[in-house]
């Protein structure tokens, strides 16, 4: 599964460089055609560790589900 996802990611990363359509130039980063790949990977990484960190350290309180 991991290999399949890796292959797919690389394929779509490469597809981003095809001159299919003029890039949207509202923002500087959209000139970089692999923006969404990088943002997707880093965004997921950030959210996973942010949530985990939040879950472990920053929560006000944790209750056993049985206690409601």
């Amino acid at each position: 599964m991991l290999r399949l996802l890796l292959v797919l990611s690389m394929a779509f990363f490469a597809l981003g460089f095809l001159p299919l359509e003029a890039p949207i130039v509202h923002t500087p980063w959209h000139k970089f055609r692999a923006f969404d790949s990088i943002f997707g990977f880093l965004g997921a990484l950030t959210l996973i560790f942010l949530s985990e960190g939040l879950g472990k350290f920053l929560l006000f309180r944790r209750h056993k589900e049985d206690e409601g």
Binding site: M1, L5, F12, D36, G43, A44, L59, R62, E65
Partner: protein, 580 residues
């Protein structure tokens, strides 16, 4: 305004509720399906404009507005009620069907209400019916969270009513219309607060992940559809282009996702995604362009369908196993038992994650694209990030740890209950719609009220989406073990609700203790006076430290009557002296 009367479509729902109450179960089920199908059939023929409507059996005349914005919401409200009815055909409890029909009817009432008073009445009715719908599950937790739900929404209702009264005092016409942003007064913020509370905007959102997971698997389907989306409709109607909403929405989108990731309860996780997805819609309202507001309507439409489908999937798991925590479900080998439910759930997961060919792909990017076009870079990034969180949570964490997941040796044996065909029927109906809208978005786009140009399947947009989805999927799969659920319930803003509740309880207890003390003091005084009246010598015994003898008429009658005679004689002589 047209002077003629019209039968509002929501009356069919209240009629359905009435028939549910009086007809036998099977006949009631058929009548509900027929009435909802009739309501759907009526919608295309509704003439546009403002009409009078009279509620059956009452003298109450309300104003009904029919326009493209209201109709777009009305269509999806009717469709989802049909899907939920199919899903819940096996449910025998009349109370749940009754309140579900009333709830759906009042949701439609909000959509068609043209005057503020009618809007308020349906708004409150919706809250009450939703509370009864939660209570109809009958568990202790549903009773508690239903009560909390009602308290929060009654507070929102008070805000709305105060705003409406203020609005009328200021001489505004009693018609639901955009409030001019130049004349912001307290009424403006009261109404906005009320709408945002129903939209579950943080920090007013805790009622949603608290209440929705506690409803029955079938009742929760209705809950996911109406309250928050009626609020989005109200925001579109009254606050289009309010700038603060763009930021509130973007914050909601990310906040909901972050809290969803750390949940263990499958329906609580999905409830946080409602907060997140409604955030997109609120953001679209705030951006105020034709594309963003059309995006809000389109996203409300698709969201109602796929969110109901996701809740149906989760409901199927709960119905079959009786378990709701991923930490309990993982490793049970659920995939072998509920294979079809898994695939149907995944249609909803792909839709909410904006995977091409699924419904979310044609609606959510409209709002993100509108943020980009408006040059709102930070909002664009926040929405993008929230989209990644939705994908990793609903398409990876929840299905993996529910249907698959690593097991442990000490897992208790679970008796699987087979799903009734009605559940598969309801899920298949919505899954079909999610795919159909994703493949052919034109019919939905034609329903939208504002003119716009957006091509979801342009090569650039398609590749950008696939890049993001594949890269975030790769990262998520690599770190999936970190997302392993823990058997804890994570408290959110309900911590503050609980703190407030505890403080309120403390004050109430103090008042109660004071009242008890005053009551005790008064009681002792009255008892003392009574004792004195019965036995005037009792204080002497008390002073001497002796036990007061019980009253004996033969002992005390003579001195008492003698004392009374002397007293009366004294007053008689005094009166005589004063007169003379």
């Amino acid at each position: 305004m047209k002077g003629d009367y019209m039968l509002p479509p929501f009356t069919l729902y209240f009629l359905g509720a009435l028939l549910t109450a009086i007809l036998p179960k099977r006949l009631g089920g058929i009548s509900r399906l027929l009435l909802v199908a009739t309501a759907f059939g009526l919608l295309p023929f509704l003439p546009h404009g403002v009409f009078y409507g009279r509620l059956p059996f009452t003298e109450y005349v309300l104003l009904i507005k029919v326009d493209t914005l209201g109709l777009a919401f009305a269509y999806v409200f009717v469709i989802i009620s049909f899907g939920a009815l199919l899903y819940s055909l096996h449910v025998k409890e009349k109370a749940e069907h009754f309140w579900a029909m009333c709830y759906a009817g009042s949701g439609l009432g909000v959509i068609f209400a043209a005057d503020w008073l009618s809007l308020y009445l349906f708004w409150e009715l919706m809250a009450i019916c939703a509370a009864f719908l939660i209570w109809s599950y009958g568990t202790q937790r549903s009773l508690s969270s239903g009560f909390r739900y009602l308290m929060v929404h009654l507070f929102g209702g008070i805000c709305l009513l105060s705003g409406i009264i203020w609005l009328n005092v200021k001489g505004h016409p009693n018609v639901v219309a955009p409030l001019l942003q130049t004349e912001r007064g307290a009424f403006y913020y009261l109404i906005l607060t009320s709408f945002l509370l129903n939209a579950a905007a943080p920090p007013l959102h805790a009622w949603l992940p608290d209440a929705y997971p506690e409803a029955s698997p079938t009742g929760a389907i209705y809950l996911t559809a109406y309250t928050t989306k009626a609020s989005v409709y109200a925001l579109l109607r009254v606050f289009p282009g309010e700038p603060i909403l763009a930021w509130v929405g973007a914050f909601m989108a990310l906040y909901g996702v972050v809290w969803a990731i750390i949940q263990n309860d499958i329906r609580r996780l999905l409830s946080y995604h409602i907060v997140s997805q409604v955030g997109y819609m609120v953001c679209g309202v705030g951006l105020g362009t034709a594309l963003s507001m059309s995006g809000s309507v389109a996203h409300a439409f698709t969201h109602i369908l796929y969110k109901a489908l996701l809740f149906m999937g989760a409901g199927a798991v709960i119905y079959s196993t009786g378990l709701r925590q991923m930490s309990d479900l993982m490793g049970l080998g659920l995939f072998k038992k509920l294979r079809a439910a898994f695939f149907l759930y995944m249609v909803g997961a792909f839709s909410i994650s904006s995977v091409p060919l699924f419904s979310g792909f044609i609606s959510k990017p409209m709002i993100v694209e509108a943020a980009l076009q408006e040059g709102q870079m930070w909002i664009y990034l926040l929405l993008h990030l929230a989209s990644i969180g939705t994908w990793l949570c609903t398409a990876f964490k929840l299905p993996y740890y529910t249907w698959f997941g690593p097991g442990t040796k000490d897992k208790p044996l679970v008796a699987f209950k087979p799903l009734p065909p009605s559940m598969y029927l309801g899920m298949s109906f919505l899954a079909f719609l999610c795919i159909a809208i994703g493949i052919a978005p034109s019919p939905l786009y034609r329903l939208l009220p504002y003119p716009f140009h957006f091509d979801p399947y342009s090569p650039r947009h398609l590749i950008d989406s696939l890049q993001m989805l594949s890269a975030s999927a790769l990262c998520t799969w690599a770190f999936l073990s970190i997302l392993k659920p823990h058997p804890f319930r994570v408290l959110d803003m309900d911590v503050f609700y609980q703190m407030l509740g505890r403080r309120t309880l403390w004050v109430c207890k103090k008042f109660y203790s004071f009242r008890t003390r005053v009551q005790g003091w008064l009681k002792r005084t009255v008892e003392g006076l009574t004792l004195l009246g019965r036995n005037p010598f009792s204080p002497f015994y008390t002073l001497k430290g002796e036990k007061t003898p019980s009253y004996e008429a033969h002992t005390y009658r003579l001195p008492l009557s003698f004392g009374m005679t002397i007293t009366m004689l004294f007053f008689f002589l005094l009166a005589l002296v004063l007169i003379l």
